[in-house]
């Protein structure tokens, strides 16, 4: 019986890929386990093995095709003497790759639908009329590091798989070729050790960028981040600043379970001596990372795996930075202030679009940095709208939203027409099951409901 082979999902967040190369042709006999194609994801080029045996009846997607969605039939395998034309309809298709393929898009769907097209009304970060180019967050991060490394010979990158592997998430792709192994340092899997070494190197006059494959693993190194990097300038009476950037994926990706899905934004934001950055857009990722590398203090730079592949307009300038402590107003509005940061912005902007249809005008603010926080922009907005909803994926207790709610209560109490509602991830370890994971994260529907509640609608 003919079997359709489907485009596989080769990473937790993959939605589509490029069919780089077929290693079989029509009429070839294929054995189970045989490598039949090379598929390029946003992270890497992967070999794709056949699960079933058979004869290649028809190749449905030509090699070199880009943007092939996960689960698209790419080839038909037939039995001897069988015609490919007799292949069953795609409904009966056998999933050739890991079952992730079926479930992975559940979370990604909401993300993919996010209104990337929304353009910040007023962007004070670069001059009006600046030429723009489209690039992914991933490319923006890579450009930021490469530009700063070209400008300052003491900037170096270290971490697991940053060099020869080209980065676990391809953020550092190509950097080893350009800068060599002295400046792009592959470390053993030893977070506490290499973080301590990086902090010492910063004291010794270098400007290290430490890549944590994800911030979950930085827990192994938390002592050096807090006790060694963050506190020493103070403890030394200002003698020993620590110019270092700790960056990597933070928060939930998709279907990777509780130990790989935590948002640490509020944790790090609690520590004096650290700067904490959590960009949403590619332009912010680039401008803020360049700023972070130049900052004389330890900077926690929280990225998001799901955002890595998202495209945004970025100013086409030889050099630009975005200062810390300056929020960005993505959308002006008059009825409610929605404050978010990082991937939370996807829910905030999506909710604002939905609310607009109900004639609720939401002002959407991206904090961009969580230490320092741009209180002034938030307070000015709340004084105008008299209502506020905060959005983040982190845990509810001691959240950034809690902190903003208390700040607004203390500094703008008389302006409030409703209590501030904080939309956060749920107070549970991240479950694996697709449906549970979706509900453990903050949802656009919750943001919409919260806004309607504070607007008494």
């Amino acid at each position: 019986m003919a079997v359709e082979v489907l485009m596989p999902a080769l990473s937790p967040t993959m939605e589509e890929g490029t069919l780089a190369k077929w290693l079989v042709k029509e009429g070839d006999v294929v054995k189970s386990g045989q490598i039949i194609a090379e598929i390029e994801t946003d992270k890497a080029t992967m070999e794709f093995e056949a699960v079933d045996e058979g004869i290649v009846g028809r190749i449905l997607v030509a090699e070199g095709s880009a943007g092939v969605k996960v689960n698209t039939p790419i080839m038909v395998l037939v039995e001897a003497g069988e015609s490919a034309d007799a292949a069953p309809a795609p409904v009966a298709a056998v999933v050739a790759a890991a079952p992730v393929a079926v479930a992975a898009p559940v979370v990604a769907v909401a993300v993919a639908a996010a209104p990337v097209a929304v353009v910040s009304k007023a962007s004070p970060d670069w001059a009006a009329g600046t030429p723009m180019k489209t690039m992914t967050v991933r490319e923006a991060l890579r450009e930021a590091m490469a530009e700063e490394m070209r400008a300052n010979p003491n900037v170096m990158l270290m971490g697991e798989e940053v060099g020869e592997y080209q980065g676990a998430y391809k953020i550092s792709q190509g950097l080893l070729d350009e800068f060599g192994p002295k400046r792009i340092v592959d470390t053993p899997i030893t977070e506490m050790g290499f973080t301590g070494i990086a902090v010492g190197a910063a004291w010794g006059g270098l400007n290290p960028i430490v890549e944590f494959m994800t911030f979950n693993f930085a827990m192994q190194a938390i002592d050096h981040i807090l006790n060694s990097a963050a506190k020493t300038n103070y403890m030394s009476g200002g003698q020993l600043g620590c110019p270092i950037v700790f960056r990597g994926a933070n928060g939930a990706a998709a279907r990777v379970g509780a130990q790989h899905s935590q948002d640490y934004a509020a944790w790090y934001a609690a520590i004096p001596g650290l700067r904490v950055v959590m960009p949403y857009s590619a332009s912010d990722a680039k401008g803020l990372l360049k700023q972070a590398i130049r900052d004389p203090n330890p900077v926690i730079f929280l990225e998001n795996e799901i955002l890595y592949g998202r495209s945004f307009e970025v100013p086409d300038l030889p050099d630009f930075t975005i200062p810390f402590g300056k929020a960005r107003v993505w959308r002006e509005g008059s009825d409610v202030t929605i404050v978010s940061f990082g991937i939370g912005m996807t829910y905030a902007l999506e909710a604002a679009d939905i609310l607009a249809k109900d004639e609720i005008s939401a002002e959407v603010i991206d904090l961009r940095t969580l230490r320092p926080i741009d209180y002034d922009t938030v307070l000015a907005s709340v004084q105008k709208t008299n209502r506020c909803v905060t959005v983040e994926e982190g845990f509810p207790v001691g959240s950034i939203g809690d902190h903003l709610a208390s700040t607004i209560m203390q500094r703008a109490f008389d302006y409030l027409d409703a209590p501030v509602i904080t939309c956060t991830g749920k107070d549970v370890p991240m479950p694996y099951a697709a449906n549970l994971e979706k509900h453990a994260l903050v949802t656009t529907a919750e943001v919409v409901a919260a806004v309607k509640s504070v607007c008494y609608r």
Binding site: M156, T190, G196, A198, G200, A201, W203, S236
Partner: protein, 329 residues
């Protein structure tokens, strides 16, 4: 103590012996004074005295050149004095005054001097080991021949990050000397109660790091071993481990009654192995110095220490505005 002795006929000069005597005595008198000020309530919190271990830092500092770096744990007063930091600034930090090296904001365990390449003073046991390797990485990156001395105790030697650091230091041939100050007690836990390893330097062999055990109560043996280690590092051969067999006379901190060892054990070390008495004997027995000459040194040291105590009492407390400074560079 099964460690290497200094050569019987050392070609050490009188000047050098006097220098060792002076530097070790400064540390001892300084620490005694600190203990006294602690008892008077002028020094607060934790205060870990270096008395008994003086030969380790004094012998190793004799192997350094400008640009070399050092980093240690919270038992750090001796290291600071040995690398040339001022007694006044150290003592005023102990009393939490504005004249201290950290303007009173660091305290006994957290002092630093960029000028003297002293990178602390770290309160988390073992943290200074990768930090020290990082200082060495910066020097190697810049292409100079500086070395870093990363000091830690037998207690810290059981921290996992020490071995993560060993692995990378050897892998990347970092110019760092790991100095294990083995005073036999991690707070109240003897080495025998915390490990089956017979030696601590021996653990480095698993990572390919050369090392040796040294009589840390003999400043000449310390210097000789230090020179060998420094030559190894400066030649680009990577890290080296020196396990200094030493002894602290006082408790772990000022609040430690030291019930985990006998009075006899302490007295035996003091009477048979004391580092300062050793140098004093060398000077007197060889006829290099007179009692009067050494007395004059004792007095000059006492003057320096007394002056530092006065400075530390007189120096004003930090202004309240200092609460909000130095959080960011």
């Amino acid at each position: 103590m099964a460690a290497k002795k200094a050569p019987e006929k050392s070609n050490v000069s009188k000047e050098e012996l006097i220098k060792f005597y002076r530097e070790m005595l400064l540390i001892r008198r300084f620490e005694e004074k600190a203990g006294q000020l602690y008892g008077m309530g002028l020094i607060g919190g934790f205060c870990h005295l270096y008395i008994g271990q003086e030969a380790v830092v004094v012998g190793l500092e004799a192997c350094t050149k400008e640009g070399d770096k050092r980093i240690t744990s919270y038992r750090d007063h001796g290291h600071m004095l040995a690398c040339g930091m001022e007694a006044n600034g150290v003592m005023a930090e102990l009393t939490g005054r504005s004249g201290g090296y950290s303007k009173g904001k660091g305290g006994s365990m957290h002092m630093f001097s960029r000028e003297k390449h002293f990178y602390g003073g770290h309160g988390i046991v073992g943290a200074q080991v990768p930090l020290g390797a990082g200082l060495a990485l910066a020097d190697k990156y810049k292409g100079n021949d500086n070395v870093t001395f990363a000091y830690f105790g037998d207690g810290a030697a059981n921290q996992g990050q020490v071995y993560e650091t060993y692995n990378m230091a050897e892998l990347w041939a970092l110019p760092v000397i790991f100095v294990i100050e083995n005073n036999h007690y991690a707070m109240g836990t003897s080495q025998a109660r915390s490990t089956k390893s017979e030696t601590l330097f021996g653990r480095g062999l698993a990572y390919g790091i050369a090392g040796e055990q040294v009589d840390g109560m003999d400043v000449l043996a310390v210097k000789e071993a230090g020179q060998k280690a420094v030559a190894h590092c400066r030649a680009g051969k990577g890290p080296y481990i020196l396990e200094m067999m030493t002894y602290r006379y006082r408790g772990h901190s000022m609040s430690d009654p030291a019930k985990y060892r006998t009075r006899e054990e302490v007295e035996k070390m003091k009477s048979e192995k004391d580092a300062i008495e050793h140098v004093r004997d060398l000077l007197l027995n060889a006829g290099l110095s007179s009692e009067d000459e050494l007395k004059a040194i004792d007095k000059s040291i006492k003057d320096v220490v007394n002056a530092s105590a006065e400075f530390a009492k007189e120096s004003p407390e930090p202004a309240l505005s200092e609460l909000w400074t130095d959080i960011y560079a």
